[in-house]
């Protein structure tokens, strides 16, 4: 009896203490003035650093770090490859436990979240931020502070079957939105395509196909000086109406399978146009077989009132705050941004360089299709780096699905997406 009382009292005290210990501290980090990291020492790098990298990049990175080790005797770079599926959880767990690596490759959309957990080290002044494509550099910035560097980039362009385009009466891809639609229609009527162009009918990531059109018209995904989401602006509405018209006019398939069959459809000519990233070049060439290289071409996104713009993605490299070897960590990251290293990395991985001058390397400059990506990257834009971005944009993806599949009113759909985004908040 006495014992249970004691236990009860102990438990209640513990609970009371815990509960009173709750409550947020004054918000530090996140808001406030832009920061620059402390200067990094000069001279050779020393000691050991651990690096996490995902997917194929994680597998290939050791080939590159060998050169860093050769240039800096005594340095040891330990690369841990982690699968993409597990990466986000692994990072959040590591941040929670304070067991982060020194340096890591991170997805561009995670920057806001990690920076908000105060896990990242601000970029020191030694790193030349103007060397990168502007849109790519923007992905490292959270509230005006840059964390890390953009490592490699990708952007979305228009893919089209040049042989079928000839049949449809086009020698080159049109440069304005109406022209693109006419060409897609001609692909159906004159070149025997089942669908003119493959556009994603809503669902996960479909905003990446919609936004290039909106950005080309000068859309901005934020308002109030970058402090709030802005999904229902007139520019996005115009782009959404345009996007919807492809489905209502029967040019695009509104009930395409959830797992897209883009490559075989493209090779067969049933869907001779689509919008996607650089990885699709090797993918369609693999499916298309020998000689397919000459049967298709790429072109920039049709220009709107603000010129041609697109979506820039890729991955960044960051240094974590609780690194024990900060100088070497930043030296390694800065080395990765070296134009020579960047073009070397392209030959290893075919990841496109984020550093503009690396594109002058013959390996890249000689490829005409790649040049289209290089040109597009100069104007391509990144989504805002709010910690809640992925959740907020999911609302837009869902609304876009209704708009394309059921013909719902674009204005109402965008309004709903905007309301949801506002209730979620930027999280910054």
């Amino acid at each position: 009896m006495r014992r249970t009382t004691a236990i009860t009292v102990a438990c209640m005290t513990a609970t009371a203490l815990t509960v009173t210990a709750c409550g947020r501290e004054a918000d530090n980090g996140g808001s406030g003035a832009a920061q620059t990291g402390a200067a990094v020492s000069s001279g050779k790098a020393t000691g050991e650093i651990t690096v996490w990298a995902m997917g194929a990049e994680g597998d290939n990175l050791p080939k590159l770090t060998k050169e860093f080790e050769a240039a800096n005797p005594g340095v040891k770079v330990k690369v841990t490859a982690i699968p993409w599926d597990a990466a986000h959880d692994k990072f959040t767990t590591a941040i929670t436990a304070g067991k982060t690596p020194d340096v890591a490759m991170v997805g561009t959309t995670w920057m806001g979240e990690f920076a908000a957990s105060d896990a990242l080290d601000p970029t020191p002044a030694q790193v030349d931020k103007s060397a990168f494509f502007e849109g790519a550099q923007k992905t490292t910035e959270v509230n005006g502070t840059s964390f890390g560097i953009p490592w490699y980039v990708e952007t979305r362009v228009l893919y089209y079957r040049s042989d079928l385009a000839k049949k449809a009466g086009y020698d080159a891809a049109p440069t304005d939105p109406q022209g693109l639609k006419d060409m897609a229609k001609a692909m159906q009527t004159k070149a025997g395509a089942k669908w003119g162009i493959g556009l994603q009918a809503g669902g996960e990531g479909s905003w990446q196909t919609l936004m290039p059109f909106a950005w080309s018209d000068g859309a901005d995904l934020t308002k109030d000086g970058g402090k709030a989401y802005n999904f229902d602006s007139p520019e996005i509405l115009k782009a959404t109406k345009y996007y919807q018209s492809f489905f209502t006019d029967g040019i695009s398939n509104k009930s395409a399978p959830a797992t897209p069959t883009t490559e075989p459809d493209f090779a067969k000519g049933t869907v001779p146009m689509f919008i996607s990233g650089p990885w699709m070049m090797s993918a369609v060439e693999k499916v298309g077989g020998a000689g397919f290289k000459d049967k298709y071409n790429v072109a920039p996104i049709p220009a709107g009132s603000a010129g041609s713009s697109s979506f820039v993605g890729g991955s960044n490299f960051v240094v974590f705050k609780n690194t024990k070897n900060r100088d070497t960590a930043w030296k390694f990251v800065n080395w990765l941004a070296d134009p020579k290293v960047q073009s070397k990395w392209y030959t290893i991985s075919t990841d496109l360089p984020s550093v503009k001058s690396a594109w002058q390397d013959p390996a890249l400059a000689s490829d005409k299709k790649l040049a289209v990506f290089g040109k597009q990257l100069e104007t391509a834009k990144a989504p805002p780096s709010f910690p809640t971005w992925e959740q907020a944009i999911k609302g837009l993806d869902t609304e876009l699905e209704k708009i394309t599949k059921t013909g719902a009113d674009p204005a109402a759909g965008l309004k709903t997406a905007q309301q949801q985004a506002e209730s979620i908040g930027t999280g910054a």
Partner: protein, 336 residues
């Protein structure tokens, strides 16, 4: 608690009976120790020693249970009444307590409601379908199929032990439109099959079909065991009294199967209320959220870093499961 510390202390040294009695605390506390006579005291100390040994043996389990089962439950319960987000994980207690806001937020979220309706649809259609399939297969294996019984049993059970990832690939081919096997089959009878996974009205039926196919094997095995426990004499007696096969099944087999039925219903409904894998691998909740389930939506919220809201949603599922299970126990209890 005191018992635990006492026993941990004695683990370090050799436990002699004398030392044990000496450190056993005041004897007058124990009701047995207060009993009259020497023999009563000896029984008491032996019991205490036994009790202590039991505690020592139970400690590893208790510690593991507290650390890995009780603590996560308590923490998630705590989380559900706070405003914890992903970035608070480093300092889990420096969050604001907001009471039941997360629960009201979840319940007023239209997507959550839609997910709840979808889950109800899945359970209400999927569970009876699974039970009927399982019982039919079990009866067939018990009475009808005599040849290759083991082969059929294995065949029906195979989907249960096959990885969902492999199953999903095959089912996507089956459900493909046009050209999928199911629609081709329907086409032979002049029926134009729907675009199963692409049509919001047909995506859920497609998933239910797949789930029933995938899960009826387990229920079938249990039904089979239950059927084999039905005494043959009762069937004979029924047959002599002129009962038809259907009447015997309805009035002899089914009542005797009630405990088995209860078990299968409870386990199946718990599994179906938490349905996650099917939408995760097949549709990602689409099209138009028509296959969004509560578990999948909760998972998404965890992914977005809304730990507090997601915890609250998990507890809502937990309560629903508890209520549904209790209802089933009431409906199918022994009526004596």
């Amino acid at each position: 608690m005191t018992a635990q510390t006492g026993t941990t202390g004695s683990v370090t040294g050799p436990v002699t009976p004398a030392a044990a009695t000496a450190s056993g605390g005041p004897d007058d506390r124990s009701p047995r120790g207060a009993g009259p006579g020497v023999s009563g005291g000896r029984v008491g100390s032996a019991r205490r020693r036994q009790g202590r040994a039991a505690w020592i043996l139970a400690i590893p389990f208790c510690l593991l249970f507290l650390a890995f089962t009780a603590w996560p439950v308590i923490q998630s319960l705590f989380m559900s009444i706070t405003d914890t987000k992903a970035r608070d994980l480093r300092k889990p207690f420096s969050v604001n307590i907001i009471g039941l806001d997360n629960f009201t937020k979840a319940l007023s979220d239209p997507t959550f409601r839609k997910a709840a309706a979808n889950t109800a649809y899945f359970v209400l259609v999927g569970m009876p379908l699974t039970l009927v399939l399982a019982l039919t297969a079990a009866v067939a294996l018990d009475k009808g199929i005599t040849r290759f019984r083991a082969v059929f049993r294995l065949g029906f059970y195979m989907p249960v032990i096959t990885s969902i990832v492999a199953v999903a690939v095959v089912w996507r081919f089956l459900l493909q439109e046009p050209g999928g096997l199911i629609n081709t089959f329907l086409g032979w009878f002049g029926i134009t099959g729907p675009n199963w996974l692409g049509d919001p009205n047909w995506s859920m039926p497609a998933l239910i079909m797949m789930a029933a196919w995938r899960n009826f094997g387990t229920a079938m095995i249990i039904f089979l065991a239950g059927l084999q426990a039905v005494p043959a004499e009762l069937h004979e007696a029924g047959a002599i009294d002129g009962a038809s096969a259907w009447q015997r099944f309805r009035h002899v087999t089914l009542p005797l199967l009630r405990p088995t039925m209860l078990f299968v219903m409870v386990t199946t409904s718990i599994g179906y209320l938490q349905v996650f894998e099917e939408p995760f691998v097949m549709t990602k909740g689409g099209p138009l959220n028509s296959t969004m389930t509560v578990s999948y939506y909760t998972y998404q919220q965890f992914g977005f870093g809304n730990y507090a809201l997601a915890s609250a949603m998990s507890y809502i599922i937990f309560v629903v499961i508890a209520v549904v299970t209790a209802l089933q126990f009431r409906l199918l209890r022994e009526r004596t």
